[in-house]
Amino acid sequence: MELEQAVKSKKIKLGAALLIGALILIIVFAAGVFVGLEKAKFSYRWGENYFRNFAGGPRGGPGQFFPDRNYFNPHGSDGQIIKIEATTIIIKDETGTEKNIIVAADTAIRKDRIDLKLDDLKINDNIVVIGSPDDKGQIQAKLIRVIPSPLP
């Protein structure tokens, strides 16, 4: 009976609530750190790849080139197609950042309810991509959906 009363006491309940709250905070914090690290790693690899392939200049890392307000999302992106090379699509998002999207044989390309092939994609098409990052700062696409052009 005493144990039952102790368990039901306000102090115990408050302590339990604080513990649960702390646990939730820790889990959320860990998830935030994980997502942040993924974005930072991808952004770094993107920067390394950009300098190697486009700028040709000295490699200074992302800190010298990127505005510090954004890190790139490695598992998804959206933008307008600016170039199609073999199995690589280059898109430009709203911030003007260019990203390489690698299209594999098992990549699903869809527009409305129709399945498309890579050859059906054109310059200036707007697409949304889901994929996973590789070690060159590119996105290996799993799904590409062609969307209507946004209103000006």
């Binding site: 999302n73 490695p74 998804g76 959206d78 699903a108 869809r110 949304v128």
Partner: protein, 125 residues
């Protein structure tokens, strides 16, 4: 000269009435305060929600979310990548702001309702 016969309960009634008026005044003041807080928080909530909508659009979160409706089967086979893409594009500051303002709005409205009920209870008694 007739002696004034004071009713013994008159003093108690006067004191009770004074206390009632004081309580009513306090409750009315709190009602106005929380009413203003609620009105302000509603305005801020609308602005915060609009801001969230704009940020979610810019980051691509809404487009990615829409894929769950259009391409559910494909997404279910790449669920890990999809969930991460949503987490990465979520405008966390806007979401936190909307959440905070919503909590404040709920708190203000709860307090307002509480004081309204207290006034009603006071008047009935």
């Amino acid at each position: 000269m007739h002696k004034l016969k004071t009713q013994p309960e008159l003093y108690a009634r006067i004191i009770s009435q004074i206390k009632y008026e004081q309580q009513l005044l306090k409750l009315r003041t709190k009602l106005i305060l929380f009413g203003l807080m609620l009105a302000t928080s509603l305005v801020v909530f609308v602005l915060a929600f609009k801001n969230f909508f704009v940020q979610a659009n810019l980051s691509g979160f809404l487009l990615l979310l829409h894929l769950s409706a259009t391409d559910f089967k494909i997404i279910s086979t790449h669920l890990f990548d999809y969930v991460l893409s949503l987490a990465e594009s979520l405008p966390v500051v806007s979401v936190a702001l909307v959440g905070a303002v919503l909590l404040f709005t709920l708190f203000s409205s709860a307090k307002l309702i509480n004081y309204l009920l207290k006034i009603k209870h006071l008047r009935i008694n």
